[in-house]
């Protein structure tokens, strides 16, 4: 198990970067959704 925790620790940067891109996607979608709802 300790070995596994170690690889997990090694992937911290990967996790943060992935989440950043995920949040970016959600923001882009949210902005477009806002524009869509604001138009008739």
């Amino acid at each position: 198990m300790t070995k596994k925790d170690e690889t997990n620790e090694k992937l911290k940067g990967t996790f943060y970067l992935s989440m950043t891109l995920g949040v970016f996607i959600v923001i882009v979608w949210g902005i477009c959704f806002g524009i869509f709802m604001g138009r008739f």
Binding site: T7, N8, L11, K12, S18, M19, G22, W29, R39, F40
Partner: protein
């Protein structure tokens, strides 16, 4: 198959977001009736001028329907009939359009009214025009050499 702890979190977040997108658009479509334009009426595209409602293009006030106005538009290479449409602000309007020749687009710029016009099919979209202004209508599907000259105007004006 083995997934890392972080990869599980990431996939949960990613797939979760996709599900949220689908839920929002799905509920809007199936519960609030906000589908993309998907009318299934057909028409003889060679006789559009003779067939209702296209024998009388333009803006018409209607009663007893779910909407207050019908805007009937005929597209052909490379113009729309009629060139100017005027509707009062706040009206619920049904846009009804078709083409007499090739595929055209019917896009009212800076609105969500954006539909394909295909020979033999009637395209429809209902919306409430809630902002005053002049809205440029453009053909957004390539239809031939005059494609970029094909446009008209929707004027949303004060109620009379």
């Amino acid at each position: 198959m083995h997934l890392h702890k972080y990869e599980k979190y990431w996939l949960t977040f990613g797939v979760g977001s996709l599900i949220v997108f689908l839920l929002i658009t799905g509920i809007m479509a199936f519960h609030n009736g906000s589908h993309p334009p998907s009318a299934k009426k057909t028409i003889n595209y060679e006789k559009v001028d003779e067939l209702a409602p296209f024998n009388n293009p333009g803006v018409h006030r209607v009663s007893g329907k779910d909407w207050d106005y019908e805007v009937v538009v005929i597209a052909s290479a490379f113009a729309y009939i009629k060139p100017v449409l005027e509707v009062p602000v706040g009206a619920k309007v049904k846009f009804i359009a078709t083409t007499k020749d090739v595929v055209h687009g019917f896009e009212i710029a800076k609105t969500n009214i954006n539909m394909m016009l295909e020979p033999g099919y009637v395209s429809e979209f209902v919306t409430t025009v809630n902002k005053k202004g002049d809205y440029l209508i453009v053909c957004n599907e390539y239809c031939g050499v005059g494609h970029a000259q094909m446009h008209s105007m929707l004027k949303v004006v004060d109620k009379k």
